[in-house]
C-alpha cells in the first residue's frame, strides 16, 4: 500500500556564516546566508542545533536581529560560560562555517505595521535583539507608527547596537554602573521610569517586553499597575543558552 508522504513544514537547513561581528566582549552578531530562507517577520526566532561528533545534539532558540528586508539573516548571541551552545557560536564560529537552523518561528512576539500603535519596546540585556529587528523594520518601511524603546543594560560596555540606538526614540538605563559623562538613566526599569517614558495608558500602546524572566515579570506588572491593558502586552522570556 502506498504511503502518503508526510509534509514536514519546518525543516532543518544549513546556513553559511558570512560574517561575525563583535557587539560587546560577550556578544556577537552572526550574519548568515540561508539559501532556502522563506523570509521572516520582525520579532521571530530560529532554533539552532549543534551536533557533536558522538551524535549528541543541543538545540537553542535565538531571536532574529535583522529586519525582514536586510541582506542577511542576523542572529545576535550572548556567550554564557556554562552554556552548551552559545560558547561555540560566539567563540568558534567563523565565516564560511555552516550552521544548522530551522525557522522562522513564532507569531505572537511579532510586530507588523498593520497592528498599529503606538508601540513601546522594552528590552533587558540581550532581550533587545528582537526589538532591534522591529525597529530596523519600522525604519526600513518608513512607518509612521510612533515607536519608543526602553533598553536596560548592566553597563555601558554591555550595550548592543550602540551605533544605531540613536536612530530611534530610545531611553537607556544602566543597572550596574553610573559612568561619568552619562546622560542616560540608571537603575532598573521600574514603575517610575515607565510612568515617565511609556506612552500614556490612554493611548493604548502595543507593548513588547523581552528579557530574562524576572525582568519581563517586573516590567509587565509595573505596566499593568500603571493602567496598561494586559492584553496589549506581549512578552518573550529567555534564559541561559
Amino acid at each position: 500500500m502506498e504511503r502518503t508522504a508526510v509534509r514536514r513544514r519546518l525543516n532543518w537547513q544549513l546556513a553559511r556564516v558570512v560574517e561575525v561581528v563583535a557587539e560587546t566582549s560577550r556578544t556577537k552578531s552572526i550574519a548568515l546566508d540561508a539559501t532556502d530562507w522563506p523570509g521572516h517577520l520582525a520579532g521571530q526566532h530560529v532554533d539552532v542545533r549543534l551536533t557533536a561528533e558522538d551524535g549528541y545534539q543541543a538545540q537553542r532558540s535565538y531571536s532574529i536581529a535583522s529586519a525582514p528586508g536586510d541582506e542577511h539573516l542576523v542572529l545576535t548571541v550572548e556567550r554564557l560560560d556554562e552554556g552548551e551552545v552559545s560558547p561555540y557560536l560566539t567563540e568558534e564560529l567563523r565565516p564560511g562555517d555552516e550552521l544548522e537552523l530551522r525557522g522562522p518561528i513564532g507569531g505572537y512576539f511579532v510586530w507588523r505595521e498593520s497592528l498599529g500603535g503606538p508601540i513601546l519596546l522594552v528590552g533587558g540585556g540581550s532581550g533587545v535583539v528582537p526589538l532591534r529587528a522591529m525597529l530596523r523594520h519600522h525604519r526600513a518601511i518608513a512607518s509612521e507608527v510612533p515607536a519608543r524603546l526602553v533598553y536596560s543594560a548592566r553597563t555601558r560596555d554591555d550595550l548592543l547596537y550602540r551605533g544605531e540606538l540613536g536612530d530611534y526614540e530610545t531611553t537607556i538605563t544602566l543597572t550596574r554602573e553610573r559612568p561619568e559623562h552619562w546622560d542616560g538613566r540608571t537603575g532598573r526599569v521600574d514603575h517610575d521610569l515607565l510612568a515617565e517614558t511609556a506612552w500614556p495608558p490612554g493611548e493604548r500602546p502595543l507593548v513588547y517586553v523581552c528579557g530574562p524572566t524576572g525582568f519581563v515579570e517586573a516590567v509587565a506588572e509595573a505596566l499593568v499597575a500603571l493602567g496598561h491593558d494586559a492584553n496589549r502586552i506581549r512578552t518573550e522570556r529567555f534564559g541561559p543558552t
Binding site: 509534509r7 530551522r102 507569531g107 505572537y108 512576539f109 507588523r112 534564559g239
Partner: protein
Amino acid sequence: MIELDGNAIAGDLLEVFGVDLTEATTVCAACGTSSFMAEAVVYMGGPGRVARCRSCGDVHIVLVTIRGITCVDMRGIARLQMTGMA
C-alpha cells in the same frame, strides 16, 4: 532547570502541527484560565520539555523527542483555540 516561556517550544510545535501555536489561546484543564500559548511557563533541560500553566502551575504540555520523532502530550489543555491577537 531553565525557565522560559511558550515561545521556546514554538519550533517543536510548528514541526508537529504545521502551524504556529504561540498565538493560540489555551484553556487550562485544571484551573480554567485562558491564556496565550506563548505565556506558558516552559522548562527545558530535562528529558523533555514541559509547559505549565502560568496561573496554577499544572502541566499543560509534555514534549519528548526520541530519534527525531517528537511526541506531544497535551492532556493539561482543555481547549485550544486558534485566535491571534492580530
